[in-house]
Each structure stands twice: as structure tokens, then as C-alpha cells.
Symmetry: C2
Subunit: 281 residues, 2 copies
């Protein structure tokens, strides 16, 4: 999915929000903000949104000398998701359709996103859970399980911290011995890295690799040889979240996208309305 | 009121929206948008928000070779406000407190703003009218009428097209022979100019002058000698809207501000919550 004109003000909003989060003194935000505006003005707008975001977040980390600005946000997301695990396991257990509930939870976890405009904070997740079962799911959860049954190599592309706990619930119900879970190679935004996969216990149930990249998505040419090889060998790819969708939607490989539609540009691209829970193969 | 850090993404949003409104082809918006981002990055952030907006909108008019990008928006706002005049006159006539209703309508008219993020479209105005009487008015409408009674020279600073019809309802109830109404000297955003004042019939009931400036507010040093002299001589200034507030809130003159609080930065500055209807002397 290519960057659209509407993405530009959204990059600026996102950049200003990160700086506000990590630089307390308003005056001190000015210089980095001016540099980010110039960076956005001179960047390539023909690529995918995560390609631009990758550059911006690199600059932010360099300018603020902060290797992981979202560290505390991610910890908080992980903490709250961890607390909710028993309740979510109950939701799956008590359901007539545990497969669908697990898919719904994995998709809903995608709302824990610090980059998007339409998002929920970790604190809002508990009350949000109730709505998850009621909301329409666009796509057939069972088809994902059927494909997984027949696949030999499944690559599961994780998205955000916090959300990765909800991914675990879904992964546990899939044939884990066939699954490789990929997280970002380095911190970017609140995206899940190896540390988050370990915290969520994913490393205990499946093989986990970093993708070698600091893009908030999966820019194939930017990933490590190990990841590339995994991606090529996989006969099923499960892709979580908007950043992975934006970078892989034009890929020829058959990919099962699980995401919540968090912005109007993506809504138009995927053909579902804002806020929709989507499973798209 | 000085520009705050939070205003920066808002300028970008506003700039991108104007370009989208007047340039149909998305690709053709890129070049002017890049230039506006650089302009924002290099502009003086210590001034008031309308000072930056003035520069941006000048650039937009130049780059698009369009002297009045909001011309059709203003016409539509005027048309709908004109249609509602009989109903609004009834609202004032039927009320136990016509003064307050007129003040409320003038303040509510301020929601017709193409620049602000919190705004209503002209089409929404009719249904919005019902809420206007129910919502709390922060300030004493009667004090405005009392001050006007005792003043010798009243300067009424208009804000937007459309809104200027609702201003008319208030102006009619004030001692019009003592009033000078000032509009923007040149088109900027959807701000009211002489043309709008004429359409709204303000020129028939009071003296109207252009302020000589194309700022979406009242930057005194940028106004014409005629306006400056009016401003100095006025012993009562009624200032409509956020742009006039932002540029005059630090002025030593006693000013009666009538506005709807349309952004969080202004809300903090004026000490009222977002969406509040405010009369502040």
C-alpha cells in the first residue's frame, strides 16, 4: 500500500506526539520537530507509510539519544495484557467457537498501537474486551485454522507489544511446531521485539526470530537473510497489524492478514470501514 | 496567545486540507505540500498562530494562483446562514432573554470555521441551533449590552463568513450608530471580507471597514492606518472568534471576546473546556 497524501499530516502528528512523549520541555522539542518536518518534506512519498516512519523514528532515536523511546509504553502494554490473560483464556474456553474468539482477540490486540490515530490505551483494553465478541468479524476465522492445518511452514508476523500476548492465545491454538514468529529486529514505535516475545512467553511455545529491520512493518528488502529465507520457505504467512499490511499488501505471496482498520487510507485500500476487525486472505 | 508546540501538526493538517480542497489531482498536491512543510519548519514559532497561518495561506494562494480558495465555502456558509435568519430571529423574539440568545447565536456562528479541527459544516448549522440554547454560556451576556450602552465608539471585529450573518443579529440589538464593524482586508481562509459584510447586510446597519490585513486574526501592526485609528479610538472592542482572540488576548485594551473554544491549546489559555461558548471581558 503506497503512502497517500493524507498520510503526510498523520506522520507529522505522530512525530510531534513521540517528541512530546520523550521531551518534557516544550521548547526543547522545537529543534527536532523542525528537522522532522524537513525530513518529511524531502522524503520519498512513493513508498509505503512504514518506510517513511522508519526514517522518522530513526531520526527521533538519534536526535534524542534514546534507543527505545517507547520502552515504558511497551512495558505498560505488556503488563496490562499479561494481567488480562486469565480472563481472555476464559473467554476462549467458555465460547462455542474458540477459534473465532482467539482470532477476534488477536485482531483486537492490534488496537494497542501508539502510532495510529484510532487506537486505545492499554488501560482501555479491559473494557474493550466485551465489545470484541459483539463486533462483526470481516473474514472467516475457520479458514485460517484449516490453512494452518495443511501448511508445512507457518510464518507469523507479530506487530505490537501488548498485542503479542493476544497473539500468543491464537498461536497456542495453531500447530506451534510448524510456526516461526517474527518480531522487529530493533525497537521502533511500540512494535514487538524479541524482548516482548520473551515476556509474552512466545519463545516457550514456538520458534521466534527478529526480522533484522527497524521498520514498523515488513519491508522485505530491509530484513535479514534469516528472515528472508523464512518468508520464502513459508507456505503460510499470518500477518498481524496495519504496518505489516501496508508493507505486504502488494506482495504476491498468499498472506493471511489479521488487523483492525485504524485509518481511513487503509480503510479505502482494504475496502472495509474504519474500526473493522478484518481477517483477509 | 503564543503558538504552542501542539499547533504545529494542526498547521500541517490545515495546510493539507486546503490543498486537498483546491487541487483535485492528489499527485499535484505534493509539491505545494512539501513547500508548506518546509515553510512551517522554518517559520517563527514564537508569534501567534494566525501569524504563521497568514504566511501559509499567502503561499497557498500564490502557489495555486487562486486569490480566494475558500470562495465557494464562504458562499455556501453565507447561503445557509441567510436561509436560517428568519428562524434565528424567531428564536430571539420568542425568548425571555433576547440579549442572551443573540449573544449565544453570535458565539455559535463561530463554529462555522474551515480552519479549526472542531468545527461544523454549514449544513450542520440548522440542527446545531437547537443545542445552542441548552448549552452553558460562560460569561454574562447582559454585561456586554451594558458596556455597549455606555460606550462612545464600539469596534466589532468580525471573524468568518456565514458567522457574520449571526453577528448581524447581535449588532442589530446594539446601538448601531456607535458601531464600526471590521472585516479582513483581503481573503484568507473562510474569514469574512467586505463582500461577506455586504451580503449579510451589515453595511446597511453599521459602518464597515476592512482591516487592511490578510491575517486570519487581528495582528495590529499588520493592519491599515484606518483600522489602527479605529482600534485606538474605540472605548469598547467586541472581538469574535478564535483568530481574533489568539492575536489580541495579550493586548492591554479591554476587549470583550465572544468565541467558541475550538482547540485544546486555546482551551488551556482561556481556562474553559473544548466546545465551550465563551463571553470573556
Amino acid at each position: 500500500m503506497k503512502t497517500q497524501y493524507e498520510c503526510i499530516p498523520c506522520f507529522v502528528r505522530q512525530a510531534s506526539e513521540v517528541l512530546a512523549m520523550i521531551i518534557e520541555d516544550e521548547k526543547s522539542r522545537e529543534r527536532p520537530m523542525r528537522r522532522l518536518l524537513v525530513e518529511i518534506a524531502s522524503s520519498e512519498w512513493n513508498g509505503t507509510p512504514p518506510a517513511i516512519a522508519q526514517q522518522l523514528h530513526r531520526m527521533i532515536r538519534e536526535m534524542t539519544d534514546n534507543k527505545d523511546p517507547y520502552s515504558s509504553v511497551k512495558n505498560e502494554m505488556n503488563r496490562i495484557a499479561a494481567e488480562l490473560m486469565p480472563r481472555m483464556r476464559e473467554m476462549i474456553k467458555d465460547s462455542d467457537n474458540p477459534h473465532e474468539v482467539a482470532v477476534r482477540l488477536a485482531i483486537a490486540g492490534n488496537l494497542l498501537d501508539s502510532g495510529a490515530k484510532t487506537q486505545i490505551s492499554a488501560e482501555e483494553l479491559p473494557q474493550h474486551l466485551n465489545r470484541i465478541l459483539a463486533q462483526k468479524l470481516h473474514g472467516d476465522a475457520e479458514s485460517l485454522f484449516q490453512e494452518a492445518e495443511h501448511a508445512d511452514n507457518i510464518l507469523y508476523l507479530a506487530d505490537n507489544a501488548g498485542e503479542i500476548y493476544l497473539d500468543r492465545l491464537l498461536i497456542e491454538m495453531l500447530p506451534t511446531q510448524k510456526i516461526t514468529v517474527a518480531v522487529r529486529g530493533k525497537p521502533v514505535l511500540n512494535d514487538a521485539t524479541m524482548e516482548d516475545a520473551e515476556q509474552a512467553g512466545i519463545t516457550e511455545i514456538a520458534r521466534v526470530i527478529g526480522n533484522g529491520s527497524d521498520a514498523p512493518g515488513t519491508i522485505l528488502e530491509d530484513t535479514s537473510p534469516e528472515f528472508k529465507s523464512c518468508f520464502e520457505q513459508a507456505d503460510m504467512v499470518i500477518s498481524k497489524g496495519q504496518g505489516n499490511y501496508e508493507t505486504l499488501s502488494d506482495c504476491r505471496k498468499r498472506i493471511c492478514f489479521l488487523l483492525t482498520v485504524k485509518c481511513p487510507v487503509l480503510a479505502r485500500n482494504i475496502g472495509e470501514s474504519l474500526g473493522s476487525m478484518v481477517l483477509k486472505i
